[in-house]
């Protein structure tokens, strides 16, 4: 396996250079460089045939073509919004894309400033003064919020309360994140798509270290009792963590104003739907600054007195604190955060609020149209909602969803007679077609 064989196309060595370098190192061949006992040496083959660039593109293209072409009316925590072209073109500049964590800030001012701007946008959207510059996704950010709660708790409690409608993935990740602590996760009931305040009140005591709520909820409902939830948490000195996303945050109640201590969530901006790949948000109150998980970019000055940016408070992090770190996160979603910041900047305050308000109108209009279809009832609650809502079907929901799939539409199935439909700017132009398809299959 020398360079006269078909080697790595990205290793630039000519045969002569390889020979000269081996000579300089003082070995006869490349194999002699591997200081490996014979007993563990691998002398087999992987059986992976190298292909040309063109062949790989064709191969992957053919594989992906096996995905059905369907119009998605899917949401439940993962939302598609149109991403302006500027985002792709500017974020793909190689100085951003091919860089790494900003350990040398003097040559990484560009990325650091963009992340500082991202943090600042999150501060504006949440009203909380501290935001980190990314977690993997909403689920892991929620897990980190719980471990933060266990570090900052005043009481001896171990209970974490989450809504019964919490997404399966978020619940499982949360359970795993608290596996190393003595925290336990319990559900509180939901009523009509919102937190059941009475039932929750009965569950609360001073053993609760974190209360988690979402706005909007996974059913798309806007949580109407946020301030009450905040008060309830405050009475029991419980960390109040709120799940949301930037589009919702641009119009809904500001988390800080309802007493939220931490905000987590999936970003929903900056990326196409990528099978769940996302960007975890994390913002919190100032007093938790030294307990925050993840990377923080701070402003400072350089030798010329000009403002400059750097990663800061790294003594919290795993490479310094090791097993006592606030989190194990190292590689995060920095480039996705850059894209999210670009997307928010592209929209501006008017554009972002207009997007959110449009989603409310799209969803209302679609719900009204579906409610007019025989065999459908939408929405099934009296709440306000953003982007999505449940639809009751007279026919079995699974069969309706399957028939819709044959017609080229994807919707969620919640239970025997309940579907959920999500509409944003990405699919708003297909709502008439969806209604027509429902008319075919729902009777």
């Amino acid at each position: 396996m020398s360079s006269d064989d078909r080697g790595s196309p990205f290793a630039p060595h000519t045969a002569d250079e390889t020979a000269a370098m081996l000579d300089a190192v003082g070995v006869a061949d490349e194999e002699a460089l591997f200081d490996v006992p014979d007993a563990v040496r691998f002398d087999g083959e992987f059986g992976i045939e190298p292909r040309s660039e063109r062949a790989v593109r064709e191969e992957v293209g053919e594989m992906l073509a096996r995905n059905d072409e369907v119009t998605e009316f899917l949401g439940r925590g993962h939302y598609a919004h149109y991403v302006p072209s500027l985002v792709g073109h500017l974020s793909d500049r190689s100085e951003f894309l091919t860089s790494y964590t900003q350990y040398q800030p003097e040559v990484a001012q560009g990325f650091l400033q963009a992340l500082f701007e991202y943090q600042s946008m999150l501060v504006e959207l949440t009203g909380l003064p501290v935001a980190n510059c990314s977690m993997y996704d909403a689920a892991t950010a929620l897990g980190e919020a719980a471990t933060l709660a266990s570090r900052v708790r005043q009481t001896t409690g171990t209970r974490v309360l989450v809504p019964e409608h919490l997404l399966h993935g978020r619940r499982e990740v949360l359970e795993n994140y608290v596996a190393g602590s003595d925290l336990t996760v319990e559900s509180y009931p939901m009523a009509d798509g919102n937190a059941d305040l009475d039932a929750l009140g009965a569950q609360m005591d001073d053993e609760v270290v974190m209360l988690y709520a979402e706005n909007p909820t996974v059913r798309g409902c806007i949580e109407e009792s946020l301030a009450d939830l905040g008060t309830l948490a405050d009475e029991h000195e419980t960390l109040f963590t709120l799940g949301s996303d930037p589009v919702a945050l641009s119009v809904l109640e500001e988390p800080a104003s309802v007493g939220a201590d931490v905000v987590v969530g999936d970003c929903s901006l900056g990326l196409p739907s990528a099978y769940g790949m996302g960007l975890g948000l994390f913002a919190c109150r100032e007093e938790f600054l030294r307990q925050v998980p993840g990377r923080l970019v701070g402003a400072s000055e350089d030798d010329t007195g000009r403002r400059a940016y750097t990663l800061t408070l790294q003594t919290r992090e795993q490479h310094i604190r090791r097993e006592r770190a606030t989190s194990n996160i190292c590689t995060n979603q920095a480039w996705v955060a850059l894209r999210a910041a670009m997307h928010v900047a592209s929209l501006g305050p008017d554009g972002l609020r207009e997007l959110a308000n449009d989603c409310v109108r799209y969803a209302r209009d679609l719900a009204a149209d579906l409610d007019a279809v025989d065999g459908l009832h939408a929405p099934v609650h009296d709440r306000h909602y953003l982007r999505e809502f449940p639809v009751r079907t007279d026919q079995p929901a699974g069969a309706v969803a399957a028939d819709l799939r044959d017609e080229g539409f994807a919707v969620h199935t919640l239970d025997d007679h309940l579907l959920q439909v999500c509409v944003t700017d990405a699919n708003a132009d297909a709502t008439d077609d969806l209604v027509a398809a429902f008319q075919e299959v729902a009777r």
Partner: protein
């Protein structure tokens, strides 16, 4: 090499490229036409309000004030900063792969097929029997792998409390083990920079759930006694965990599975050349031996055995019988996984093996050329030099002036004033010679010069102490001060 990084300042030259909020910002108030009632909505929102041309210039300027692999050599030890081919970006941009994570299996056969094939490729490369793609980064992979180990022990009614980790290991190892609820037992390195077998024997007990090890280790040294290490760990009933951060040194030469490792993670963004994106996203798939397969995260991808299937093999997701559950809300960083698959397919057996051969050759060649002392050896993909009397951090700042991204500094602590250097296979002999020239020029310079560096970068030396002492983490915090 001649280097001067772009330096954009405002009109007065008093500050670098202004923040977006300083260009134009706008506060938007609630409007009577808004569709939601007052009591559920916020009063106002203030955000930057720049035009598209202004934004294009802003981000172009910021990019010019940033250094990536395509700007120049980036020998940051343990980070494997190698060139990322361009065609993988086109693959990840294909809208056919842009699907919602709640799509049913039958409607995303293409996604599942690629995931299945990548699971298979990674299994072959690592000598592992099963691979999950879910963890969204290397540390998330460590966490998932340790959860799998924990579930395995618990399934045998054999709860254990400790994970043993060498002092030279990546910091994430310690943090991941602690997150899973384990006490960490520190294993001091031997005089040759490798695992000290006596110290290992002393550290291992009936409480040992696992030993977390990277091989070659962070000094670039291969743990030659790996068979004995595996035997000792297995003798006490522990599992051997492979930290895949340094896998680029071994492709096609040694497989973790063949060395006796039971569970491992792959940093696909490192070894399989997907861009690191300024700190992420990455992906940290986890491979396991057969005995651990049923503990893998939920879901896992498998083929469906139905003899009369039309249109080729069918794929489905399923929950392994004793799954640890999930470590990511969905199925990890899909676009990164697509790029990793494409890279592996492009190189194949011969390309992957050659990548390691050249990565190891480059590290040894560069180690040979630099004037700094390079203790231990022989090296694999990286070497740790000592800045000696110089301060490693200052030396690194000076290297910036020579147009190279410096090595990882002051770590691992086994070597005083460490300069941990990993050139990777993508640098040519000529570039390595230039790198060596830069190292050697800095080696010859006095402390005064080093302390004044850098001069040619977008910003001059940044005050880290004040940044930490008086944290200002948003433009709102800056506004408050003014």
């Amino acid at each position: 090499m001649i280097f001067d990084q772009a330096r954009w300042t405002d009109d007065d030259g008093e500050r670098y490229e202004p923040l977006l909020s300083e260009k134009r910002s706008r506060e938007v108030e609630r409007d009577d036409d808004d569709p939601l009632p007052d009591d559920l909505t916020r009063d106002s929102l203030e955000l930057p309000d720049a035009s598209e041309p202004e934004l294009a210039r802003h981000y172009t300027r910021l990019s010019e004030m940033n250094y990536g692999v395509e700007s120049g050599p980036f020998p940051l030890g343990s980070c494997t900063m190698k060139y990322n081919p361009k065609f993988t970006e086109d693959i990840a941009a294909d809208p056919a792969g842009h699907v919602h994570p709640d799509r049913p299996d039958e409607s995303v056969q293409g996604v599942l097929e690629l995931q299945y094939r990548l699971q298979d490729y990674l299994g072959r490369i690592g000598g592992m029997d099963a691979v999950t793609l879910q963890p969204p980064a290397g540390a998330a992979g460590e966490f998932a792998g340790i959860l799998v180990a924990k579930a395995y022990h618990e399934s045998r009614d054999d709860e254990r409390s400790e994970v043993v980790i060498p002092d030279s290991a990546h910091g994430t190892n310690f943090a991941s083990a602690a997150m899973a609820g384990y006490d960490v037992v520190n294993l001091p390195s031997g005089d040759d920079g490798r695992v000290d077998l006596d110290a290992l024997e002393a550290a291992l007990t009936e409480e040992t759930a696992a030993l977390m090890l990277t091989n070659p280790n962070t000094l670039g040294l291969f743990e030659r006694d790996i068979e004995r290490v595996a035997e000792l760990v297995h003798d006490v009933g522990g599992l051997l965990y492979y930290d895949g951060a340094n896998l680029n040194a071994l492709l096609g030469r040694v497989r973790p599975g063949d060395m006796g490792f039971d569970v491992m993670h792959y940093n696909v963004h490192k070894t399989f050349a997907t861009p690191h994106g300024g700190g992420g996203p990455g992906a940290g798939p986890v491979g396991v031996v057969e005995e651990l397969r049923e503990f893998l995260p939920d879901p896992h991808v498998r083929t469906v055995d139905d003899g009369d299937a039309e249109g080729g093999t069918r794929y489905e997701t399923y929950t392994p019988a004793q799954s640890v559950g999930k470590v990511h809300g969905y199925q990890g960083n899909w676009l990164v996984l697509e790029k990793a698959y494409a890279y592996i397919a492009r190189l194949g057996d011969t390309g992957l093996a050659d990548a390691s051969a050249k990565a190891v050759l480059n590290a040894n060649y560069l180690a040979e050329q630099v004037a700094y002392e390079t203790p231990f050896g022989p090296f694999h993909h990286e070497f740790v030099a000592s800045a000696g009397e110089q301060d490693a951090a200052d030396a690194a700042k000076r290297m910036l002036d020579y147009g190279v991204h410096p090595p990882t500094t002051k770590w691992p602590e086994i070597v005083g004033e460490a300069l941990m250097t990993e050139p990777t296979e993508v640098e040519s002999q000529r570039t390595l010679d230039q790198l060596a020239d830069a190292f050697n020029a800095v080696h010859a310079e006095d402390d005064e010069t080093l302390e004044a560096a850098p001069e040619r970068t977008a910003a001059r030396r940044i005050d880290q102490v004040t940044a930490a002492r008086e944290p200002r983490l948003s433009w709102q915090a800056l506004d408050r001060e003014e």
